[in-house]
């Protein structure tokens, strides 16, 4: 019974009860029944919000009048509803599901009935949870303010629910008017009820379409969650709860034979059309005629109640009467537990198992299919119980098919309808609904109503009298139809060795003497389908005279797959292990064409490039160079890797270039040995390994990047000096030039500077646009090598290249010609030449020398300004920014500072030094 219908009647327009379940609210020792409805509200601007409505209710809730709203729990971001499994306890199949509902405000425990409906409910609630996507706004639950909950006694456990939580919802303050809203909704409910009386059929159809819809939704869910093998490992590594279970389960099904063995269970199957009668006699001759107590009883009835009440209200006292009669007549040698009773109007099916087997029954589901009036009503049709006994799935169907001799095609159709419309929900709602045919064992019993055709009544009776059932059987419609494969295809029926079970005068063994004088027929039948089924008996029971039918029974030995616990554990372990392996195998993995990179003889401002290829394995992966701890970048400043990150498809390649370039920022430390051409890069694969790449090499120290005083002490070319000496001289403090302790007396200015200036003085004094035309890169490298090797005589380069080399040299000085500490005083005394000269005189000797030397050279250039078109302003602006550098860095250089630096230099160009 779908109780969401009752809840729906209490809701306002625009709200929809997605699914409802009846459960037990556990608070301490108290157990109270609650109806839990998941209610959806569509927001005007799109999107939706959910809340769990908890109702108290009377009996099985049918209409809105049967339920009273108790609490509302909004499905907010902090809402969780989880199944609680008892720790350390063995899980008992078929027991209630305990769930824990938690939000910030409250914590409730419920017990929900075991079965697929509860599964679906939990699944729907899980889907309703808003998740943690920061992109979606927090649910506001404004719509909840329209509902009013049951007033709780003041001393009640106010910690729970809506009473507290509502304070946090906007709109609650207007709840004073909410009462009337509530009334509106109630009156809505009433009018709905009014409609119902006139259009009950409509309503039935509505609920029917809803049912269908939810089924198609389930199918969609299945399609969308299809997992392909190659995806599997990814999903595994995503650590998403539950998916791993699904995979393990499907593997367990595949490997079933490894851990199960076949054990026979004795099944009793009985069918009895009781013609609307109440039990008047003991049923033992039918139910307990065997010596051995059956393990399982499947007992079906038809025409349990022929009254209109039973038909219209689905309610009949006969159910209890017959249930009791059966329960009392089960085999006395065993104790039985009722597993399930399912009834549709007069068609009832009862399932019992021996108590010791109860723990091995699981996944019990029932369904009914009406094929009666309008093809839908329950006066004809079938009911079924499906369950799992140990590891074998079993479906028992009890059907009452269409009557009348000539209606055999209608009976065939009823059978087909039952087969196609009988769909059982699965424990895992993501799986498609089960049909009857999807079971290992199917037992089909009932008043199938097939008659004996083409023989007149007397002939039939005569054959029965002669016990010539074989001849008679040839005229049996069921036999003929099965042979024609129009019905019960693949089913087996035992040989009929008993006389037709229909139709007798009630209370006797006499054939029907009524007006209609119906021909005897084997209406009541038992068929089966599946492996490992042996029929032990198939008979009717003439002793029972309550009905115009005789009951029929059949006993079977059915081989059921029983789990060997040890083998099961072993198989499970193997599966889990294989998943682990798969997960490991699917950790992204690449191969690198090269992991060691050696850059030989790296020179100042000379690019060196090396490359390697990343070849991806079978898992798509993302790679990225990552920073080592406490470092700002993934590699040293003189190195770069391109691209530094990327995505690789399976079996594809990426080429990474490593570029090494030493500039003024990194040269000095390489000269001094404080830094080396050595680095380790970490190439990281997302969800995978890290690879270390080693970069090694050697740097050839250069005058570029060396301090002025260091160069002054280098009487030899820098390449001829041992690295230790270079390192020592580079690290030498600036103010040691005059202490006379040096072994070799220093030069006044760096020889490399002299070489360049001298070259320009000799070759370029009249060169047009000197310092303004760019040089050539190749010539720069040549000039650098000449300077560093001292082979100045070999120097042949364009004037512009040498001029640029000079500027680069000045730029690469770690301490500018006018030392950083003098920077601000220089700017301050700009315009005052005497003061400016005073500042210059405070510079360290070598810096002072270099400054004066450069100014003298520039003045010489200006003397030739008619030829070279240079003027003081141009030179002052070029050299101003090189000689006077802001200690705070270039970025902070303001225009006024730049102008002042220019003016400062300009003074020295137009005045005598």
């Amino acid at each position: 019974m779908d109780q969401s219908v009752a809840i729906q009647e209490t809701l306002m327009q625009g709200e929809y009860c997605v699914i409802a379940v009846q459960g037990v609210l556990c608070e301490g020792d108290s157990r109270q029944s609650r109806l839990l409805g998941l209610v959806r509200h569509r927001l005007e601007h799109g999107g939706q919000e959910h809340a769990l409505f908890l109702y108290t209710h009377r009996r099985m809730a049918i209409t809105g009048d049967d339920v009273t709203l108790d609490q509302i729990v909004p499905v907010s971001r902090d809402f969780t509803l989880e199944e609680v499994s008892s720790d350390g306890e063995l899980y008992i199949l078929g027991s209630d599901v305990t769930i824990q509902l938690d939000t910030v405000e409250l914590s409730l425990t419920f017990q929900l009935p075991f079965g697929s409906h509860t599964r679906m409910f939990l699944q729907e609630v899980a889907r309703a949870c808003p998740g943690f996507d920061p992109a979606t706004p927090d649910p506001e639950f404004q719509w909840l303010s329209g509902y009013q909950c049951l007033q709780r006694e003041p001393d009640s456990r106010t910690l729970h629910g809506w009473n507290l939580a509502r304070d946090t919802w906007p709109g609650y303050t207007t709840i004073g008017g909410g009462g009337s809203n509530f009334d509106n909704s109630r009156s809505n409910g009433k009018s709905l009820l009014g409609d119902q009386s006139s259009g009950g059929q409509d309503k039935a159809e509505n609920s029917l379409t809803r049912q269908n819809k939810s089924k198609s939704e389930i199918t969609d869910l299945v399609r969308s969650s299809t997992i392909t093998v190659s995806d599997k490992a990814h999903i595994l590594s995503m650590q998403k709860f539950g998916l791993r279970d699904t995979i393990v389960k499907s593997h367990l099904v595949q490997k079933e034979d490894d851990y199960t063995y076949i054990q026979n269970f004795r099944f009793f199957v009985g069918t009895y059309n009781v013609n609307g009668q109440s039990p008047k006699e003991c049923l033992r001759p039918w139910l307990s005629h065997g010596i051995q107590a059956p393990d399982v009883y499947c007992v079906g009835f038809q025409e349990l109640d022929l009254s209109k009440e039973a038909f219209f209200f689905h309610d009949t006292p006969k159910e209890e009467e017959w249930f009791k009669a059966v329960s009392e007549s089960l085999h006395p040698d065993a104790k039985y537990a009722k597993v399930k009773l399912i009834r549709m109007v007069g068609i009832m099916l009862l399932l019992y198992v021996k108590q010791e087997h109860a723990a091995y029954i699981s996944e019990v589901e029932t369904e009914t299919v009406g094929t009666g009036i309008m093809g839908r009503m329950g006066n004809k049709g079938g009911v079924a119980i499906r369950f799992q006994l140990h590891n074998t799935s079993i479906c028992i169907v009890n059907s009452h098919l269409a009557a009348h001799t000539e209606e055999y095609e209608r009976r065939n159709q009823d059978y087909k309808d039952i087969c196609s419309r009988m769909q059982f929900c699965q424990v895992d709602p993501s799986l498609p609904a089960l049909t009857i045919s999807k079971h290992d064992v199917i037992l089909w019993l009932g008043d199938l109503n097939y008659r004996i055709e083409d023989l007149d009544v007397e002939k039939v009776k005569k054959l029965v009298e002669e016990k010539d059932f074989q001849t008679l059987y040839a005229y049996d419609q069921l036999k003929i139809q099965v042979a024609a494969k129009t019905v019960f295809d693949g089913y087996t029926e035992g040989e009929l060795t008993f006389q037709p079970t229909y139709k007798y005068d009630t209370g006797s063994d006499d054939w029907d003497t009524s007006e209609k004088c119906r021909a005897p027929a084997w209406c009541d039948r038992i068929l089966w389908k599946g492996k490992n089924i042996i029929q032990l008996s198939y008979q009717s029971h003439m002793a029972l005279k309550t009905s115009d039918h005789k009951p029929v029974s059949s006993e079977f030995d059915i081989g059921v797959k029983v789990i060997n616990d040890e083998l099961y554990r072993k198989t499970l372990e193997e599966i889990v292990r294989s998943l682990d392996k798969m997960e490991n195998a699917n950790i992204p993995s690449v191969s690198l064409s090269k992991r060691e990179f050696c850059f030989q003889n790296v020179k100042y401002m000379q690019l060196q490039v090396d490359s390697f290829t990343i070849h991806n394995g079978q898992v798509p992966c993302q790679f990225e160079f990552i920073n080592k701890p406490d470092e700002q970048s993934f590699c040293k400043q003189w190195l770069s890797a391109n691209p530094s990150k990327g995505f690789l498809l399976p079996d594809s390649n990426a080429k990474i270039e490593l570029e090494l370039f030493v500039n003024k920022t990194t040269a000095t430390k390489l000269n001094s040995g404080e830094d080396k051409i050595e680095d380790i890069l970490v190439l990281h694969l997302d969800r995978g390994k890290d690879y270390f790449l080693s970069v090694t090499g050697n740097y050839l120290p250069s005058c570029f990047g060396s301090p002025i005083h260091t160069l002054c002490y280098m009487r030899q070319p820098i390449v001829d000096l041992p690295l230790e000496t270079i390192s020592e001289l580079t690290l030498m403090p600036m103010q040691t030039e005059d202490d006379g302790s040096q072994l070799e007396s220093p030069m006044e200015i760096p020889k490399e500077l002299w070489m360049m200036v001298d070259y320009l003085y000799r070759n370029a004094i009249q060169q047009e646009d000197l310092f303004q035309q760019p040089g050539l890169r190749s010539e720069f490298e040549h000039i650098r090598d000449c300077l560093d090797t001292g082979m100045i005589d070999n120097l042949s380069a364009s004037n512009h290249s040498v001029a640029e080399a000079l500027l680069l040299f000045l730029e690469s000085l770690p301490e500018p010609v006018i030392c950083y500490r003098a920077y601000h005083s220089c700017l301050e005394c700009t315009g005052n030449y005497t003061a400016s000269k005073q500042v210059i005189s405070t510079l360290p000797t070598f810096h002072k020398n270099v400054f004066n030397y450069l100014m003298a050279f520039l003045q010489e250039l200006l003397k030739n300004s008619t030829k070279n078109h240079l003027d003081g302003n141009i030179l002052a602006s070029i050299f101003g920014s090189l000689l006077l550098r802001n200690p705070a860095g270039h970025e902070k250089l303001e225009m006024t500072d730049k102008k002042k630096a220019q003016e400062f230099i300009h003074q020295f160009l137009c005045n005598t030094l």
């Binding site: 008992i92 027991s95 539950g242 019992y352 682990d580 490991n584 950790i587 080693s694």
Partner: protein, 215 residues
């Protein structure tokens, strides 16, 4: 099969450290694949392996980081110690130098992990007893002095490999149970799945729905 008994409820992060060539990767491979990798190349970087184990009925996913042992990578591999719940410190019983370096590895492990990180000392290559260069007793004493778990194992034969990983996990789990390891600490190295049963919330008696039918 209504519940989900196959999933893990904890994730422990492990690191494997020790000199180059002591068999760190082979131990990992033996543990995850149950196979000996004969020609295992030197690990230049950090590799991963995972496996789900069971401790006291709890499924635990081990996430194992196998680091490069070469000295020149030491500075980089140190960054992988953070947030490890367990450390397997490996030496080679046939090479004394790898044993001598343990104190340096231990210093790193102590400095770079949290105080609750469980460290297990593993003397690998126990199958090569004839070439033994470090006695069991000596290593045992070292382990005791430093409060380490200790086992001799062989990645080749598989001897004690399983135990090495399990012993550490048991100790970590015990630390969780007695509260000395705070799961909420950022660097505990343990992740707990919130959806797993917390235990003890309900005394749920098994309640079969079916009522018995006395006949």
């Amino acid at each position: 099969m209504a519940t989900a008994p196959y999933n893990y409820s904890y994730i422990f992060k492990y690191i494997i450290i020790g000199d180059m060539g002591v068999g760190k990767s082979c131990l990992l491979h033996q543990f995850t694949e149950k196979k000996f990798m004969a020609d295992c190349p030197h690990t230049i970087g950090v590799e991963f392996g995972t496996r789900i184990i069971e401790v006291s009925g709890q499924k635990i996913k081990l996430q194992i980081w196998d680091t490069a042992g070469q000295e020149r990578f030491r500075a980089v591999t140190r960054s992988y110690y953070r947030g490890a719940a367990g450390a397997l410190m490996v030496y080679d019983i046939t090479r004394r130098s790898t044993y001598n370096h343990l104190s340096s590895w231990l210093t790193d492990a102590r400095n770079l992990t949290n105080p609750n990180t469980v460290i297990i000392l593993i003397g690998n290559k126990a199958d090569l007893d004839a070439q033994r260069d470090v006695t069991y007793e000596e290593a045992k004493q070292f382990a005791e002095e430093n409060g380490l778990l200790f086992l001799e194992a062989s990645a080749k034969t598989g001897e004690n490999v399983e135990d090495a990983f399990l012993e550490a996990a048991k100790k970590i789990y015990q630390n969780i149970q007695d509260g000395s390891l705070d799961l909420n600490a950022a660097e505990s190295g343990v992740q707990h799945k919130p959806s797993a049963p917390q235990g003890g919330r309900l005394t749920s008696e098994p309640q079969p729905q079916r009522e018995g039918c006395g006949c």
